[in-house]
Amino acid sequence: MKVAPILAGGLKIEAEVPEDWDVLGCIMQDAVAGAVDLAQRLGSRMRKADADDWETYVVPDLRTEFCAQVSLVEEAINSAASASGGGPGVISIPAAEVLSWFGALNQARLGLEERYRFGDDGIASLTGMNATRRSGFLRGRFYAAVQEIMLTHLM
């Protein structure tokens, strides 16, 4: 898989082998893994006196926005995978959608953290991990690497 900024201001993700589509599909699964309600969690940070109002007026909007981010990414990946017949193909991310992708990747990393509690685990700890945890760890690193490309070149 190749990920690179494009001259028009967005990003392209090139799936080179069929397995790349599986990896990309994990973004959605990881984002919802662990039943993380990010909006609820962020709202719960508010002090008690404000929590009810925040829950009523702010959290629903946040929830809608976070769900929309994952939906946008899901649609882009499914559409590109379908167009390529599951073989090599490209996802083009317009500049206007970069922030949504960034948010969806953040949710995916949050889902992984919720499930596996990697904390500050470094790459050296890979040898002690079982296959499922190791796979999650590597996906998290991949998502963060894509985010870093976005931060460096597009945001």
């Binding site: 990010l38 962020l42 940070r45 508010m46 404000d50 946040l62 960034f102 948010g103 949050l110």
Partner: protein
């Protein structure tokens, strides 16, 4: 005499408390990248990169950082904007 004195003291304290500004606090978390938090503080609060970086590193090292203080309504707005960018933000009354 005692009752009156107590009442006066209480009222005075309440007046002082309502005059205190509100703060927006950002908490450290294991997911958001440092550079992203810097970017978010620049975007939402309009800070220069140096200031945003300093505040981000303070949150990273101590677990939390006051990033803004002022009127309550504005503090709520900023907290909401930061939460929309998935930062752990909240408002508190300044101490």
């Amino acid at each position: 005499m005692n009752a009156t004195g107590t009442e006066t003291a209480t009222r005075a304290e309440e007046e002082v408390l309502t005059d205190l500004p509100w703060t927006v606090v950002v908490l450290n978390d294991p997911v958001n990248l440092v550079d992203y938090v810097v970017w978010a503080l620049m975007k939402v609060l309009g800070y220069a990169k140096g200031r945003a970086t300093m505040l981000t590193l303070e949150a990273h090292e101590t677990g939390r950082c006051v990033v803004w203080s002022g009127e309550r309504e504005q503090a709520e707005f900023f907290a909401q904007q930061l939460q929309a960018l998935q930062l752990s933000a909240m408002i508190e009354k300044a101490k």
